[in-house]
Amino acid sequence: MSEVKVYERPKSWMPNVSSHYCPGCGHGIAHRLVCEAIDELGIQNDTIGVAPVGCAAMIYDYMDTDYCEAPHGRAPAVATGLKTVRPDKIVYTYQGDGDLASIGMAEIIHAANRGQSITVIFINNAIYGMTGGQMAPTTLIGQKTTTCPLGRDASVNGYPLRVSEMLATLPAPGFITRVTVAQPKYTLKAKQAIKKAFQNQVEGKGFSLVEVLSSCPTNWGMRPVEAFDWLLSSMMPYYPLGVFKDFD
């Protein structure tokens, strides 16, 4: 009986390297989807990633492509520099919600508004992960974190930011969509969106952003399955999935 391999690590994932992410964290799934998109488009040698500050700061330990670090929130500016000098390369940022929606809000808005031909993978898990579960701009009203222990209060902290909807109001960005990796059926759609966001850049179309609703069981204080259930029941009503803008 011949052996048929039906599942293997993506080629652009570093061989023999395991990630540091907590059990049930969505980063691992999202990383894999990015790797699969890069593999399927055949762009491994032409891709330059820009790492965030936060849980995914060490993404370059896992992705077998050229990679650059950025200070907290500045990945879209670093990507702008890379893409300006090397428009022939595929440049993408991978950022969390603290990185992109808080300290780096100016950089993402202006990169989007320039229609910079880069791909942005934006992981929204409604909390700061690496620093131990503090409030993020995306934290839901009433959600408890270490810096809003009684639950986020809009009168003090404002409202959770819907980044995709906000960026979609700009004329320049081409493709903005929100997906999730909470269940396999959604993950397959997330894969399509991520691949399309890279494909857009291959075709020289302009700015693409994929917001990925993801989980943080450790800082949400939940078991992994419970965390994905909470994502579906609590996050998705406020952060609806969908395509907010497309090139076509």
Partner: protein
């Protein structure tokens, strides 16, 4: 191109283009706006790109990304803008990315004013950003030197994979002088594919990662030791200093940049009166030219430091001379420069002691 009359900022910009810089990322701030303006007008002529960033924070990080490709990139700003760039500069140094940063200094602190200053000396030479890192800091004293040091900055940045700051001041930026700008011989130097991003194919599929994050203490200390070894090599090879009428001098004026050209006039006037005064002018503020200070003649009895700040270089002079001489200071702040007469008077006062 022969000698032509140019404004300092524009001369710096043209010198950068002639050095092969095709990518400029900037944000307007007085008194250096002619640099981004010049770049926006002239980079397209050489197939280059000017990107106006949304802030100094963004522009220095665009430089980080652009420099990570190994090509020649640049930004310019003035003091408060450089403060905003400090985070990015630390990362660029930590990631060992070549970049040229022009600081047309103005008086501070805070917003300060828009008139010239030299009060960023400590920020430029002793840090500014976090961590153990050093910039190479070049201080031009004439517009021709603005041109030459800007071109040298690109060579040093790429040679050492380190950010280099051209620390001019508002006078250097805004005055006009005849300069000659030649295409740099290294202009067509290709990007270094051995480490730069975007050359994975050329490296046979071998990736390159540029980062300053090392969570474990051992590799972080090792990274720092490697950086310190590089800084030691720069200290050994790149000190630059001008010694002016130093032989038989009893009093030395230590000054750089605009203050040095003012001091030069004072020294010439005092020499004409028969007073034994000379000048020592650091061209590299980092690495500080300690070797040149070792050549101070035994006739010297006193050193006067002159700056457009409150005395930021004084400690470096004391260290460079092993505190063997009395060191005094004369400076002006707020956008004033010491006048030739003020420095002459200060020298006369010291010599009469």
């Amino acid at each position: 191109m022969g000698r032509i009359l140019m404004k300092g900022t524009e001369a710096i910009a043209e010198a950068a283009i002639q050095a092969g810089c095709k990518y400029f990322f900037g944000y307007p701030i007085t008194p250096q706006n002619e640099i981004p303006e010049y770049m926006s007008a002239h980079l397209p002529e050489v197939g280059g790109v000017y990107v106006q960033a949304e802030s100094e924070v963004a522009s220095i990080n665009m430089v980080l990304g652009g420099g990570a490709t190994g090509y020649r990139v640049m930004t310019s700003s003035s003091s408060p803008g450089i403060s905003l760039m400090s985070e990015g500069i630390s990362y660029i140094a930590g990631c060992e990315i070549p970049a040229v940063i022009v600081n047309v200094m103005r008086a501070g602190p805070g917003l300060g004013g828009i008139l010239p200053g030299q009060a960023d000396y400590l920020q430029a030479t002793k840090g500014g950003g976090n961590g153990d890192y050093n910039l190479i800091v070049l201080a031009p004293s004439t517009l021709q030197e603005c041109v030459d040091l800007t071109q040298l900055a690109f060579d040093l940045a790429q040679k050492y994979r380190n950010p280099v700051m051209v620390a001019a001041d508002g006078f250097m930026g805004q005055m006009m002088e005849a300069v000659e700008i030649k295409p740099s011989p290294t202009k067509d130097q290709p990007a270094d594919a051995s480490w730069a991003l975007g050359f994975m194919e050329e490296r046979g599929g071998k990736r390159s990662h540029l980062h300053s994050l090392f969570l474990a203490p051992e590799p972080l200390e090792e990274h720092n030791r490697k950086l310190q070894k590089k800084y030691a090599a720069i200290k050994a090879a790149e000190q630059r200093c001008e010694c002016f009428r130093m032989e038989d001098a009893e009093l030395l004026v230590a000054a750089y940049g605009t203050t040095a050209r003012i001091s030069r006039s004072a020294v010439n006037n005092l020499r004409a009166e028969g007073l034994k005064v000379g000048m020592i002018r650091p061209i590299t503020l980092w690495p500080y030219p300690y070797e040149a200070f070792k050549t101070i003649p035994s006739t010297v009895k006193h050193i006067l430091v002159a700056e457009m700040n409150a005395g930021q270089m004084v400690d470096d002079v004391k260290v460079a001379t092993g505190c063997r001489y009395p060191v005094s200071f004369y400076g002006r702040m707020g956008g004033f420069a010491p006048s030739v007469k003020e420095i002459e008077d200060e020298c006369r006062r010291i010599l009469a002691l």
